[in-house]
């Protein structure tokens, strides 16, 4: 190819121009694709944010409802409504021990096991049978 003639120069110019157009077009398409991807990602993030916020809102609502149900007045009402019969121990029912309760209970459980003390005979009364 003759590069020194006018034709050669124009041909070269046309080729380079076409290459430049092709290259610019590719860059442009790439940019558009990239911006589209950015847009898709941004929207996806936004939707995720919205979903997280929605879950948090539902969580807050559920926690509030659960806390309301844990209120002592509500629990007492439920106790009565459902006939659970749960009562707090009164002061008089509590016996404070000056010794280790585990040892005391163990001694009570094992009393008579090795013949150290004779087991007490249980006396059963049937008041109705006496009538």
């Amino acid at each position: 190819m003759n590069f020194s003639s006018n034709h050669g120069f124009v041909n070269q110019l046309l080729v380079y121009t076409l290459v430049m157009i092709g290259f610019s077009g590719s860059i442009g398409l790439g940019t558009v694709w990239m911006r589209h991807q950015i847009s898709v990602t941004a929207n996806s993030n936004k939707q995720l944010d919205a979903r997280i916020a929605m879950v948090e809102r539902h969580l807050a609502e559920t926690i509030t409802a659960a806390e309301s149900e844990r209120d002592t007045r509500v629990l007492l009402r439920r106790n009565a409504e459902w006939n659970l019969g749960l009562v707090a121990p009164t002061h008089g029912q509590i016996v404070r021990l000056g010794e280790d309760p585990v040892m005391r209970l163990a001694a009570k459980r094992n009393a008579g096991l090795f013949g150290d003390t004779a087991p007490q005979t249980a006396a059963v009364y049937l008041p109705l049978a006496r009538r």
């Binding site: 190819m1 003759n2 006018n6 034709h7 124009v10 041909n11 110019l13 046309l14 121009t17 911006r35 950015i38 847009s39 990602t41 941004a42 929207n43 993030n45 936004k46 916020a53 929605m54 809102r57 539902h58 807050a60 609502e61 926690i63 509030t64 806390e67 309301s68 844990r70 209120d71 002592t72 007045r73 707090a88 121990p89 009164t90 002061h91 509590i94 404070r96």
Partner: protein, 636 residues
């Protein structure tokens, strides 16, 4: 090479044409991006630029075990744009009315009212509420807002203004809104707002306080700790599309919202419930004007429970009838009363601390007059006759008025005043909630101090204190002589749960020595054993306390019918773990007896104390050797 099509002329023409085209495009770009840039960008920014406020979530208020006393939850304000409603959705209206619990006729009237007179004042129900709403917006709301802005001045054919916004219902839950969305009625939409919720309703109402619908904290911890609780709103700057929706990729600046810190209180919800249950019992039994019960840890000054009667539901503060707003007052710090005999602890502690009491010293409490500073002073009357001289322990246990006055006179009026001041009277305690009263404590030589004051103040007259002041004064004896600042905030935590600040005990001053405090505790142990507060005695426990029964001033005169009854004490006396104050104003006792502290307040102390023993696992403490309580027959 054949010249063919590519003649010189044609090639040059083609090249020039292409270059001209590029040049033209380039020139246009330069014009748009450089020359006209300012004007074009300004126009675009005006049309597309938007700032979205992201509301911070207000922090929670928790009790010391983590139970939520106040929290924020998202709710929706349901609205309608009557211009957008479609006739094909009309069959869904009854179901909507049912979901939002609104009479169908009323809802249909709102839906069908599409215009309003132009001259109508802008304070109608349908158009006033909108500016008050704040919070996160839904997408369709943003769209609707955009349309509202565009059509704000739209006028119908009849010359009336078009209604683009009308409120249907406040406080729709997320669950309910999901059902409404499922109906798919175009033009019905919700605006999200954060609303404060108080799951335990009346529990610790006067401590927690509330935030009103405008988001303004009214009182209590909500108000005091607002700086920590409120958080910081965030914002986003970006662009919107033709429908007013945010174009996420064009966010230029974004400041995320910082949620508020959580405040953990020293209040225990269970103890608070015990207290409020007792207050309900007092209200049902004695029909008092008001009553206060305070429970605290005397070693640290942290309040475990504080309840008042009457009280109110924090979720329904706006439903309190006119004239009944006083139920919102935290009377434990805002109302003052004459403490009566409980104040005798000041005279006894002062005399003891000044080492005026010698072993075996007794006081004649049958005398009616006494000389002081060259003048004969008339002593106050006694409820009981004391033929034998009394020891200091007897004066405290039997609540002798004349004995208490003689103790104060031993100290002298100036020193006695200084002790009263040191015990915290006449000044705010520093309680972090609400408007606290100073109380009344006149200094010698001032207008409020006359010749009778020195014979009246030692028995709790001529002085006024808030229930909390009296409670903290008793705390001086329980804590070993230290005046502590009553505290209710335990710690501040950030949104991630990390502790930002932890409060510790705050000692204001040392009032009396530890030895004096120990002696005073022994004196006060006599009150439930052989004195005026027998009803406060708890089997197997050393209870120390003092009864108080003050005549109320009605129409400027002391009334024999109206009293303030109180019992302020703590236990176990030798190692105090809880201090309890029960103050009942104008109780109506059973069987016509007058409402003394020993009759109406001391039993409450006992009932609360017995429950606290189990809940806090308070073990009985017996001092070796000289515990007169154990030896005195109360030990079972």
């Amino acid at each position: 090479m054949s010249r063919g099509f590519a003649s010189n002329y044609r090639l040059v023409l083609l090249a020039v044409g292409i270059i001209a085209c590029f040049g033209g495009v380039g020139a246009r770009l330069v014009q748009l991006h450089v020359i006209d840039r300012e004007a074009l960008v300004a126009g675009i920014e005006k049309a597309r630029w938007r700032i979205d406020i992201e509301k911070a979530r207000r922090g929670d208020i928790l009790d010391r075990n983590g139970s939520i006393l106040a929290t924020s939850r998202s709710m929706l304000v349901l609205q309608v744009d009557p211009q957008v409603l479609r006739p094909e959705d009309e069959h869904k209206w009854p179901e909507l009315a049912q979901i939002i619990e609104m009479p169908f006729d009323e809802m249909a009237r709102i839906f069908r009212t599409k215009t309003r007179p132009v001259k109508k004042a802008p304070t109608t129900e349908t158009n006033t509420a909108q500016p008050r709403f704040t919070g996160l917006k839904t997408e369709n709301v943003a769209e609707a807002d955009e349309e509202n802005a565009d059509l704000d001045d739209a006028v119908a054919d009849n010359g009336e203004r078009l209604i683009r916004w009308a409120k249907l219902r406040d406080e729709i839950t997320e669950t309910t809104y999901a059902k409404i969305e499922a109906l798919g009625i175009k033009g019905v939409y919700g605006t999200r707002v954060y609303r404060r919720a108080y799951p335990h309703k009346t529990l610790a109402a006067h401590i927690v306080g509330f935030v009103n619908k405008e988001g303004v904290p009214a009182f209590g911890i909500e108000n005091y700790a607002d700086f920590y609780l409120r958080g910081r709103d965030g914002w986003r700057e970006g662009e919107r599309d033709g429908k007013g929706r945010e174009v996420a990729q064009f966010r230029t600046r974004e400041v995320p919202a910082s949620d508020g810190y959580s405040v953990t209180l020293s209040i225990d919800a269970t103890i608070q419930h015990i207290v409020e249950q007792e207050l309900a019992y007092i209200a049902a039994t004695y029909a008092p004007q008001k009553a206060t019960i305070i429970v605290s840890d005397p070693q640290t000054g942290f309040i475990l429970a504080l309840g008042n009667y009457p009280t109110f539901d924090l979720n329904a503060y706006n439903k309190i009838p006119k004239g009944e707003e006083h139920v919102m007052r935290n009377v434990a710090i805002t109302d003052i009363y004459e403490p009566g005999s409980v104040f005798k602890i000041v005279a006894a502690a002062a005399a003891e601390n000044e080492k005026m009491i010698k072993p075996g010293m007794r006081f004649d409490c049958s005398i009616t007059h006494i000389d002081y500073l060259g003048r004969s002073r008339r002593l106050p009357g006694e409820d009981h006759r004391f033929d034998e001289p009394l020891t200091v322990a007897d004066i405290v246990a039997k609540s002798s008025n004349r004995g208490a006055v003689q103790l104060a006179l031993l100290v002298g009026q100036d020193r006695f005043y200084e002790y009263a001041r040191a015990f915290g009277f006449g000044q705010v305690t520093g309680f972090p909630s609400g408007a606290e009263e100073n109380g009344i404590l006149a200094a010698p030589g001032t207008r409020g101090w006359d010749g009778l004051t020195i014979t009246r103040m030692p028995i709790g007259h001529a002085v006024a204190a808030t229930p909390l002041q009296m409670h903290m004064a008793m705390g001086v004896i329980a804590s070993g002589g230290l005046l502590l600042r009553p505290q209710v905030i335990r710690e501040i935590r950030d949104a991630g749960g990390e502790t930002v600040y932890r409060y510790g005990p705050a000692v204001k001053s040392r009032v009396i020595s530890e030895a004096t405090a120990r002696t005073m505790r022994k004196y006060l142990q006599g009150v439930p054993v052989s004195g005026t507060g027998k009803a406060a005695a708890i089997p197997n426990y050393e209870v120390a306390g003092k009864t108080g029964s003050t005549q109320k001033i009605i129409d400027g005169r002391y009334s024999s019918q109206h009293h303030v009854a109180s019992f302020v004490g703590f236990f176990p006396a030798s190692r105090p773990q809880v201090a309890i104050s029960v103050i009942i104003d104008d109780a109506d006792p059973l069987k016509g007896r007058y409402a003394s502290g020993g009759l109406v307040a001391a039993p409450s102390f006992k009932r609360i104390g017995e429950q606290l023993i189990q809940y806090l696992d308070i073990k009985p403490v017996y001092e070796a050797g000289d515990s007169n309580i154990v030896m005195g027959g109360i030990h079972r």
